[in-house]
């Protein structure tokens, strides 16, 4: 691994990685059962440098911002490298957002360049909001069909210049990325992540979960996500490891990829991990009783020998058939993005497949705590990573209070929003809004949230303000969306739901027609963003002088109602 303490920027470290590990394979890209591409670090450099030079020739320079909206693939990483090489700041956006949301964030980020895929561009170009994001001066589109109408964009594949690009150095405190943690419908939260944030986080994470040449990481989580950006790009590249991309994330192709590419690490969200668990459990159930008994016995032996720490060699021998399904080389499944239920973590650990369960938020870099597996603790989210200071503020009698974090991995602030930034910090500590406590061994146990938001099992952060637009002009006096657990605090990190608080007009009743109207609007939202039920409330909503709803006071009024009877399911 490169000694990252010597580097000032992501670009400088990656530049050296490409020469240090020149002959190692850095990328494999497959589409269904077809391998599309396999690149060494040298070949990666040969692809990236002409793009970097072409960017430079347009005047793109230090501090300029460029956005990538793409599914996971080699062109994502090649483009990101070129942006960092030329001193730019990367704005990675979730390709699953709507065109309207994309344009909103492109405008907010001030990106000069957009690099995207043709199917995404087709939708973006068709959305009117683009006209207002006039900061985007150059659009590069990948894999466009030969006669496609590019609506003013240029082909990524042809955007090349031969002379070598000039490397543009950056300082540790400069902004490397603007990562949106939320705010697609309301107030954009663009986390300004510095080069130091990534360099420090990479050192901390790889001290527990190292990469080296020959390691293969299966990149499934979207690369715009903090976890995949770190463990599916920057981490493996600075260690000479290989990243495997799949263009189709259907379960059957993902399963195949484990064995075909001898995967060492993979990151998953809880939803996918649970799905894998269900699949395995179903197969166990189908076994004849004698085989089932043998399997249970072997699992028992494995549990006994791995109590204090994982023993991969032993587990692979004892439970070879199961490990063969994962390619036989899998060391750890990294799980993140949302809370994972302990029984799921324990299920995999008992099979000899450790799950690196942790806790993090975009504002604090990739991870704040991670389970170090010595011993494995399914009931916690692990201990703070090296360099992380974590404290519990205003603890109740049971020790549970708000989690505060301070470290070199914490963001510089929210882009263009000093007010929101000030609210997020207290004396240099980042206020996470999550509730938890430390146990006697220093492991963090999360127990709920005190902020008005939910996190889905797919790792999506949903803020009520971001989805309210869909209910605009609903024929009621006023409405407001809440996270149910924010209104009625619950010691739980799973099964979170959103509710729609309604104040009807005088003499108005909650009719079937109104309910259907709400359902129709709700269905316009992506399925994981939908509200679960309606709560009817009497009396005007409390508002500020500028007529904004005072959400915290309204939440207190809602809390007076009985949760189970107040929520009318949709």
């Amino acid at each position: 691994m490169l000694d990252l303490s010597k580097y000032q920027s992501i670009g400088a470290a990656l530049k050296d990685a490409l020469t240090t590990f020149a002959n190692e394979t850095c990328l494999i890209e497959a589409d269904r059962d077809r391998e599309k591409e396999r690149l060494t670090y040298k070949e990666f450099q040969n692809r990236a440098h002409p793009l970097a030079r072409a960017l430079q020739d347009t005047g793109f320079s230090a501090g300029d911002r460029a956005s990538i909206i793409m599914t996971n693939q080699s062109k994502w990483l090649i483009s990101a490298y070129s942006i960092f090489f030329t001193g730019g700041a990367l704005v990675p956006l979730d390709y699953k957002l709507t065109p309207s949301e994309h344009w909103q964030l492109l405008k907010h980020s001030g990106a000069k360049v957009l690099i995207t895929e043709y199917p995404i561009w087709r939708q973006l170009a068709g959305a009117l909001e683009g006209a207002s994001a006039d900061n985007v001066k150059l659009v590069l589109v990948t894999e466009a069909p030969a006669n496609a109408d590019l609506s003013g964009a240029q082909r990524w594949e042809e955007f090349r210049c031969v002379p070598e690009p000039v490397f543009v150095p950056r300082e540790r405190k400069d902004i490397a990325c603007i990562v949106y943690s939320s705010g697609t419908g309301g107030r954009p939260k663009g986390c300004m992540m510095t080069h130091e944030n990534y360099l420090e986080q990479c050192v901390a994470l790889t001290s527990l979960y190292p990469f080296w040449p020959g390691v293969r990481y299966l990149s499934i989580l979207p690369t715009n996500h903090a976890i995949d950006f770190m463990v599916g790009f920057f981490g493996p590249f600075t260690c000479g490891a290989c990243v495997v991309h799949l263009r189709t994330l259907r379960p059957e192709f993902v399963r195949e990829a484990f064995a075909k590419y001898k995967i060492t690490y993979v990151s998953l969200v809880p939803l996918v991990l649970k799905n894998v668990q269900k699949g395995l459990q179903a197969r166990f159930e189908e076994l004849p009783q004698t085989k089932r008994n043998v399997l249970n016995f072997l699992i028992g032996v494995n549990k006994a020998f791995t109590k204090s720490q994982p023993r991969l060699g032993l587990s692979r021998k004892l439970l070879g058939q199961i490990h063969a399904n994962f390619g036989g080389e899998l060391r750890t499944i990294i799980v993140g993005g949302a809370f994972t239920e302990p029984q799921t973590l324990q299920f995999f650990y008992d099979l000899g497949i450790p799950v690196a369960n942790g806790y993090g938020l975009t504002e604090a870099g990739t991870a704040i705590t991670v389970n170090d597996l010595h011993p494995f603790r399914a009931d916690t989210v692990g201990k703070p990573l090296p360099g992380m200071e974590v404290k519990i503020v205003n603890p109740a009698e049971d020790g549970v209070g708000e989690v505060y974090v301070r470290s070199k991995t914490v963001m510089a602030g929210y882009l263009n929003d000093p007010e929101l930034t000030a609210e997020a910090f207290s004396d240099g500590w980042l206020k996470t809004g999550d509730l938890g406590r430390f146990d006697q061994t220093g492991h963090l146990i999360l127990s709920g949230r005190q902020k008005n938001m939910i996190v889905t099992e797919e790792g999506k952060n949903i803020y009520p303000e971001d989805i309210e637009a869909v209910f605009e002009n609903l024929p009621v006096k006023e409405f407001c969306v809440f996270a149910a657990n924010y209104v009625w605090p619950k010691r739980s990190m799973v099964g979170e739901q959103l509710i729609l608080a309604l104040h009807l007009e005088n003499n108005q009743t909650y009719t079937e027609a109104l309910r259907n109207d709400i359902i129709a609007r709700n269905n316009r939202l992506l399925n994981y963003k939908r509200v679960h039920g309606v709560v009817l409330l009497d009396g005007d909503f409390p508002r500020t002088a500028s007529l904004k709803i005072k959400r915290n006071i309204l939440a207190e009024r809602l809390a007076q109602l009985d949760r189970s009877s107040a929520i009318l399911p949709l």
Partner: protein
């Protein structure tokens, strides 16, 4: 060449088979996440079956955000 109505009906028939629900219980405008109580991964499994049936390849991105059978059928139709 199938028309959109035929494609939609075939999509519904395959979903009925795949998720083992009673014939006639699904309609084109149904939100399949809600109606079938499935998650995004289970929806992806259906896509593979649809690809095999129609002999096409549907990039994951093309079906992003699609939650009703009619729209799914439209995406398939555009590739037939």
């Amino acid at each position: 060449m199938r028309n959109l109505d035929q494609t939609t009906q075939e999509v519904l028939d395959l979903a009925i088979q795949h998720f083992k629900v009673a014939p006639g219980t699904l309609s084109p405008s149904d939100d399949f996440f809600k109606k079938l109580g499935i998650d995004s991964l289970q929806a992806l499994e259906l896509l593979s079956r649809l690809e095999n049936h129609f002999g096409i390849e549907l990039p994951d991105y093309e079906v992003q955000g699609v939650s009703d059978f009619r729209t799914l059928a439209e995406r398939i139709q555009s590739r037939l």
